[in-house]
Structures are given as structure tokens and as C-alpha cells.
Amino acid sequence: MSFDLKQVGLTHGNGFRALHGISLRVGRAERAAVIGPSGAGKTSLIRLLGTALRPSEGRLDLLGDNPWQQPAGKLRALRTRIGTIHQSPPIPPRLRVITAILAGRLGVWPAWRGLLSLLYPADIAGAEAVLARFDLADRLFDRCDRLSGGQLQRVGIARVLYQQPDLILADEPVSALDPALADAALGELVSESERRQATLFASLHAVDLALKWFPRIIGLRAGEVVFDLPTARVSDTMLSELYAAEGGVLPTQANPRAPVRDPGEARMDIGPQKIVKLDACRGR
């Protein structure tokens, strides 16, 4: 069991209910994608699983323990086993790429090793190997502010792979990548999860990528799970209902942001180029 949520709800400090009644069980080495319109609560769910936010109600079990009933030391040890890929990588622009990657292991390294590594990088070969998987090995000693948005996002993914967590959480991990790179990057994440038997739980805006790479799809809308099904059983009707608030137009790689329009006129306006051949992406 990787994580188990029972009737979990999350109310933010300002009173906004981001999630409610979420029940989800995801097993070890399982891969699941969460999709849904903007504001559905995808990021809140990921942050909840990453122990960045504490549920306001319900039960949360992460890698065998309730994180919020652990003493500080145990919670820290648990956190080292969870790697979160953020949509915009939280990497200071002045950091060199190698430092940004090596920061992935700070949780397991003793503090002195982390500090010493700033004087001379502790594991150049390891950082280079993980960067090479994203075609960025030549940028190893460049500063992060020299990278493009897409390159930085791949460095963010590489850092989490270098961390070698048991649970990989990814919040729109490929949103800044062009379709070919996004596909390759997700492929790397999936193969990492297969190789190390790590759970992969990702939120994705592009529905076609979710259907292609993940055997299980969770539809989230207004903070609630609308469906939770094997990919083969997710129908086009379910998808267009999930995105009804965005005019029923599915966000895909070619059409990343569904236009906001009156649902009444939506169907009239969809040109042939916007109709997504979902069956073509399903399964791989």
C-alpha cells in the first residue's frame, strides 16, 4: 500500500473547501493520473499527499503510517521517501544545475555532507547520469537561470528521480514542455517507477498524455472524485462531462488550455482540428 485516503477533506485557511470526501487507495508501484478542470483541487491533493498540507478531516495513510501522528523525526524520515515534482520547479535561479540535482538527496545525506557538497559536488557522476535521461547532461555545470522554462522543468524532474523516492508525486510535471519532450519526460518517469517499483501519482492537464501513460485515471472536479477507473473504462462522455465547465473541450497537448465559453454554444464552435482522437492515445 502506497497511500490510502478515507473521506479526506481539506479546507484552506480562508475557508475555501479545496477537497472533500476523497477516498483513494493506491498500491505500491501503481501508476495513476489525476485529471480535471482548473481549480478542481489537483494541486491540493498532491500537496496533501506530499505532507505539505494537513487534511482537515478524514484519515490519511502514507507509506504505512499516518504522517500527522508521527513524532518530528519519523515525519522527516517519511518525507525523504516522498518526492514531489512541482509545476514550476522551486529552484533558485543562481543555483547550478548540478547543485539543484544533488539537492534531491539532502534528506538522506547528513547535514555536513550536504554543506560540503557546496564546496565540491558530492556526486558528479550520479547527477550527470540522471540528467542524461532528459538530454541535459551538457548543462550539468550551467546556472539554472541560463536554462529555458522547459529545461528547468526537466531539471526539476531529474532532481526527484535523483532523490529515489518510494512515492513520486508530480503536479503537472510537463506543462512547460513541447509535445515530443513531454511525452519523453513522462516515459522516463514511468520507466523509473517500473524499474524501482515506485508509485507514480501525477496530475496532468493534457488528457491525452494521461490516457497514454497511466493505467488508472482519477477524474477530479470541484474537490471531489468524479470517477476512478482503469484507463480502458474511461469513456469520452465521462471526459466531456468532467470538463463541462470549460465548454466540454478536452485540454490536450495540441490544445492545452480549453477556451472558456458558454456551454450552450460550445459544440457549434469546435472546429475539426480541436476534436481529439482519444482512442488513438489510449493504452500503449
Binding site: 518525507r79 529552484i91 539532502l106 534528506g107
Partner: protein, 282 residues
Amino acid sequence: MSVASATPSDPLLHRDPAARARLGWALVALVLLWPLLVLAEFRPWVLFDASNLRVMGSFLAGFLPPKTSMEFMGYLLKATLETLAIATAGIALALLLAVPLSILCTRALSVSLIGPGPGLHGGNALRAAGRALLTFLRAIPEIVWALMFVRVLGLGPAAGVLALAITYGGMLGKVYTEILESTDTRPARSLLEAGSPRLAALAYGLLPNAAQELTSYTVYRWECAVRASVIMGFVGAGGLGQLMDQSMKMLNGGEAATILLVFLLLVLLADALSSTLRRALA
């Protein structure tokens, strides 16, 4: 998408809703400022009174020409080195106080605030205690500390160093905390969320963004310490201040002018140092 109540021609739509509050606060500030100016006997025009101009002129004329005798230059060099030593040692000791306290007080480096998790109350209490200690250290002017230490350690630079260390430790700690909290704190937080120790989160998450600001504030404080050592010279804490004290008491304006020129040079030096370091850290 339905803003039915306000059409584009509606005059309310074209008015900044914050304008009234802004005007109100500006008026409040003026009303509060006026009695403060009266209380502070703010009468700048008195300066331009003919008799006052004459008094100031003769005071300033006493400073000319700056004294350049070899004997005085020897004293001056020794005092300058002493002042630099006092300021540098004071800042170094102040860092010993300020760095741990600012790491303790920075909310961006708090693990218990994430969630919030275990140890939240203890963490909050420690941070409050750290802030209170920083406030206490800097609330008492360095001259008071210096007067106290002179009684214990006798006349000389040691008292000045300790006095600077305590007051400047408080100032540096407070401002370090604020600088660390006003940079982008997401990198450090994401490291803490992956189980990183606090020191590593500071070094990898906060310092890369904050190093420039921290350095320039530290150099600026060093510059202030050079100047503050003048005041402390008056209580016999050594350095340029003591020399200045003697010159002023003997009404030797020429000597005072030379000492002031040295201060000007030291401030220029600090400025150059600061901009070099900022460029190196950019």
C-alpha cells in the same frame, strides 16, 4: 463571465476602488506628522538666520586647514587601524550571535509550520524567544554597553568590541531574518518537504537568492560600526573616536578635519567592497 450590473459606460467601473483609502491614509499620515514636527522643534529656517550663519561659519572655519604633521599622521594611522580592528572584530562577534538567532527565527526554515506538524507550539515559542532576545540586544544603545564594559575591562578597544558585538548582533539578526523571509521561500520549503535538514535547506534554498542582500547589509553594518566606534571613543573605547575626542576637547579643528577625511575614505572603501561583493555574488 457575467458582470451584468456594470456596463462599460458605468462611471463606477472606471474608478480605482483603492483611491479613497489611499487618500485617507495620506491625510492620517499628515495629521500624525504635524505634532511630531512641532515636538521635534523642527524649524529649519532658523539655520539661515544671519547671526546663526556666522556662528556656523566660524565653527567650520576652525576645521581648516586639515592638520598634516608627521607626528599627528602617526597617531592617526594607529587610531585608524584600531578603529578598523574594533569594527571588524565587533562585526565578527556580532555574526556569531546573529547567524544562529536568525536561523532560529526565520519562519521559512521552520519544519513544524509545514502542515502544521509536530512541535508547532515549541517552535513558535522558540521563535518568539529568539525575536525577543534580538530586540533586547539592539534596544540598548551601544554606548550604554560600552560604558558598562569600560568599567569591567578598563579603557581600551575590548569594551568597544563587545558593545558593538551585542548591539550589532541584534540588528544583524533581525534584518537577516527579514531578508531571508522576503526572498522566494518556496525552494527552501520544498527541500524541507523532502526531509532536508534546516541548515541544508538554508544553504540550497534561501542563500542563493539572499546572499547579495545579506552581504551588502553586513558590509553596510561594518561601515556603521566604523562610525559608531567614534562615539565609543568618547567613552575611552579607543580608536579614531578617542583621538577625535581629544582633538575636539583641545579645540583643534584641523585635527578633527583630518580625522573626518579618514572617515570619508573608510566609507568609500566600504562602498567599493560592497559593490565588488555584490557583483561577485550576482
